[in-house]
């Protein structure tokens, strides 16, 4: 793999983590989170400030995770008071306010952005491939985590809360608690990703965490398929690689990008690989029986 491909892969991997984590909040817990990039940013700045001060990278990542998770908990608490669309806009607002803070406060480098001390691994400066490995391991972990979640009472609690809060409470689900937990998990993964991203870029600007970024993450989740593991991954791969894949379209790149999203929502609002989507139906119809016949057994 050439450096260029690795770089694109790193970008995709970053977005995969962001999409997977956002999906926990939006897809599994059903909460309208529209400011995910803000938490990505909090993680990035926290980790960057710490390593610049000489703190160990891994420790810095941990702190980034904790701090963004804590802020996520606050959003979770706020979300308890707000209805759906209000929550959506409040989170948009939080995204804007945080980016404004990154942009204005000396602590975050102000309008000049912030240089990040390059990561040294095993005595050498880390390159794209190192970051790719770290990210892939994390993606694997997060996927396993989500899989575990889906099979646990936790997952069922989120599904109930998403389906009908009143009903969920009627059989013992403390919906507030689970909402907050979903926010914490989602935002802390975003923060962790931010910490890695900052060291990959070695330079961070407030604009990398702006609302538009939240929207692209959201688009990845929705285009891929909300509430599944494969969905955000595929969404991140497609849309994350889109700027590069669409280079052939030159000047029409953004139009294509926008157009594809609109058409997707129009014809496959459940996402490319969401439940009951065109692709999944075809897979269920043709591929699964094939596998069954060949493999003899398949897991439900």
């Amino acid at each position: 793999m050439g450096n260029y491909l690795i770089t694109v892969a790193v970008n995709i991997a970053v977005f995969s983590l962001l999409a997977l984590s956002l999906n926990i909040i939006i897809g599994y817990a059903g909460q309208s989170m529209m400011g995910h990039a803000a938490f990505f940013g909090i993680g990035a700045y926290t980790a960057a400030i710490l390593t610049n001060k000489g703190v160990n990278f891994w420790l810095a990542l941990l702190v980034a995770l904790v701090i963004s998770g804590t802020l996520g908990a606050i959003i979770g608490v706020i979300s308890l008071r707000l209805r759906d669309d209000f929550l959506a806009i409040t989170t948009i607002g939080i995204n804007f306010v945080l980016v404004a803070m990154f942009q204005n406060m000396k602590l975050f480098g102000g309008s000049l952005g912030m240089a990040v001390k390059p990561l040294i691994l095993f005595g050498k400066r880390a390159t794209a491939i190192h970051f790719l490995i770290i990210l892939l391991i994390l993606i694997l972990l997060v996927c396993m985590l989500i899989r575990k979640m889906n099979r646990s009472w936790f997952g069922l609690a989120l599904a109930s809360l998403r389906g009908d809060e009143g009903a969920a409470q009627s059989f013992g689900v403390n919906t507030s608690q689970y909402k907050i937990l979903a926010f914490i998990i989602g935002t802390s993964i975003a923060g962790l990703t931010g910490g890695i991203y900052a060291h990959r870029m070695t330079f961070i600007f407030s604009s990398s965490f702006a609302f538009v970024v939240s929207i692209s993450i959201l688009s990845m989740v929705v285009v891929g398929g909300v509430g599944t593991i494969r969905g955000p991954l595929v969404g991140a791969i497609l849309l994350g690689a889109a700027p590069e894949l669409l280079r052939f379209a030159d000047d029409y790149r953004m139009i294509l990008y926008g157009g594809v999203i609109v058409l997707m929502m129009r014809f496959q609002p459940q996402g490319l690989l969401g439940e009951n989507s065109f692709v999944m139906n075809k897979i269920e119809k043709y591929i699964i029986p094939l596998l069954k016949r060949k493999g003899g057994e398949s897991n439900a």
Partner: protein
Amino acid sequence: SSGNAPAEPNEPGGKEQPASTEPIKIGFFAPITSPAASADGLSAENSAKLAVKLINEAGGINGRKVELVSYDDGLDTTQAVSIAEKLTTKDGVVAVVSGSYSGPTRVAAPIIQNAGMVMVSAYAIHPDVVNAGDFIFSQSFPGKVQGRAGAEFAVKTLGAKRIAIIAVDLDFGTELGDSFKAHAEANGAEIVSYDKVAISDNEFTPIITKLKEKVKPDLIYTANYYAHAAEVVKQCRLQGLDVPILGTEGADSWQFLLTAGDHAEGVYITTNMNRDDKNETVQQYIKRYREEYNLEPDMVGASTFDAFQVLFEAIRRVGTDPVAMRDAIASMTDFYTVTGNLIRYTNRGEAVKPVQIQRVENGQFHYFGEITDLNIITPDE
């Protein structure tokens, strides 16, 4: 040295093929599809194409044609990283010109530096761009110099004593505003107010009412891009605040003149291009740009054009070996381009060149003066 770049089989320019007739490829990126700043991106891209076209018309460099490998970065740092990787590892370019703003340029710089390739940044203002290493050059003078020159002009020539600053809250406004402030104060003027405005904001009436009725400055320094600068000018004049206004290269665009209309008369700006320069390079660029694109050239375009001139000159002198090119650029002196005489490069890779003072007369920018004092125009080394 090329740092610890990963060894790539097709390391560009590493092994110079003798007397090749292959075209020389030069990489380029600018924000084209980004909604935020695409007018500048277009200026840059147009000028890049023009530069290549003109050199090829003149027979290329040492008999070899030049080819442009151009990318749109969408004003997105993530994309800029991919582009930088692609340029350095896949496209076989010999050098890179950044026609983009600070963000993308800043993240691309270390990658290009690590690959041991030369990059000339056309107009990015961020002080850190050239810090990426010895292969990275800035075509124009840094923001600090321009701010200093502006203050010199405002205080010494215009005699301003009470100055109000309005600056966009980005690296651009911060660099210029802060350095203007420092130098103006050092020269005995008072900065009576310093307002930062968001790039997303275009309503300055509240600030201007405040300036007019409470602050009462005798000069307004606006470190903004053209849209904001035009708004500051227009709203000052409409509110009846008739003090001199000094802008920056950010206002050096036909779009500033279009938007501000008559109100722009008498406004000064600091910039790097002198449209009244009799020099043939300058006039040819202006003429050809108008012909090719039916648009008025601006500072962004001229700077991009010149970034290519710097590379062309280096290649003409030493060929396409990156280390040789780097040394050739670093030692360039008195090289005359559209944006004036490049006196020399500092050891950090920043250009030393005079700062132009232009003034709007009859709806056009015209020569008003020039800051050539080396103490002012030499960047910190």
